[in-house]
Amino acid sequence: MAIAGLTLIGETINDSVPSTRKLFEAGDLAGIVELARFQDEKGAAYIDVNVGARPPEFMADVVRRIQEVTAKPLSIDTPDPAIAKAGLAAYDPARAGGRKPLLNSISPLRVGMFDLLSVQPFRPILLISERVEDGRSRPCQTAEQTYQAATFLLAEAQRAGLEPDDCILDPGIAPIGSDTEGNLKRLIGAMEMLHNDPKFARVHRSVGLSNFTVQLPSKRADGSPVKGPLENAFLTKAMPLGLDMIIGSVKRVYETLPPEHPAMQCLEDCLRLGGFEAILRVREFYR
């Protein structure tokens, strides 16, 4: 379940989830539909749909089948314009109470995907962890670059006729267990800059929260969980800076933490330390 004011996009229907990929590979659409129903029942506000590199018609079929069992709007998750187009075209807003789907995602190099608004009105997740340099995509390495990417993409979205309320900025979250290059610092710095700029006041923010704790053990040395508390520490830090949506798990208990919580202290230390010292601090948290 989510915290009040935090919108949860259910993450399970994604080709990169091994158990889901097995369902896709087995052609088990009933299993996929069941994942949608389960996430709906457990409180997801949106159901993410990522079919990997499968054909556009497959995405269309999956969208139709899922909409037969849920009235929740979907998040069409693909960087491929053809797959996105098929998913959006198949989406029936009437089955979701008239609500628009999300399109996850549009990056600075893929602004052509705004043209898909003519296929189906949608709310875009704008990927601001990337920027364009010399016609090629580059990772944003500083908060300033991330902020510039947000400024650029919001302007493009508005040029395409979207309102700020429709837009969701994804500043890109990287695994804390391998963050030797200060990504967390960049991310929080960028969120602060966006929060302080009135032009982003009505724009939403989202991250793929489970990505924050991949590659970490599930339990600390004392048997208590590792991932949930670290993800909650991030939420506690980022929600006052405008984070109001996450792609996450309906099975996770999301909650804010007090400052003295060990996970909160770990997060603050990582922000302060950076580099390998931050990695050592994460290890200290679970060892």
């Binding site: 590199a53 693909t78 960087p79 491929d80 090629r136 695994p175 053990p217 990695i279």
Partner: protein, 212 residues
Amino acid sequence: MPEPAELYDAIVTGNAKKAEEVTKAALEANVNPTELLGKYMIPAMDEVGKRFECNEYFVPELLIAARAMKTALALLTPKLAEAGAKAAGRVVIGTVQGDLHDIGKNLVASMLEGAGFKVVDLGVDVPAQKFVEAAKEQEGSIVAMSALLTTTMTQMRSVLQALEAAGLRRKTKVMIGGAPITQQYCDEIGADGYSDNASGAVALARRLVGVA
């Protein structure tokens, strides 16, 4: 004076400072650099890989151990060159064109270095031609490619085709990895091997160069 054998523990526990101290002392005492590498450092990284595979170690431990290994290796490399020591093999590694993900690629590169391979890291968003040029310069090397997106994994096939067109495919082993990659995809595009983790990538590279 620290004993050379302490290098093994320093790397396994990720103690970069200790690894530096032991290596310096060993070199000053004229311990054979090839022996340091073969007897302590590579076995230490093998142990790290084993612990990772049985879920005793996780990515933070891999990174910390690889840093300790690299610290020692930086001191050792000039001496190894003087001694005419040969690398376990050469690997040209990169994330394919259109893809900016580098965590897995960096981890594999570190682990391969730790296993005694000479690694040429081409970075991210690497065009097929750049892989070909590097494979030409490093003849006989393994080309290792990473892709994290379903939209970019198709570039792996382009690299294989470009290697073929340049007449390099028969001399070049190709290994691939990344979240959307499967053995089935590896077979489909005709790569020589696939691994879903950094430790497995080392074992695969060893098999490809015929040392395991």
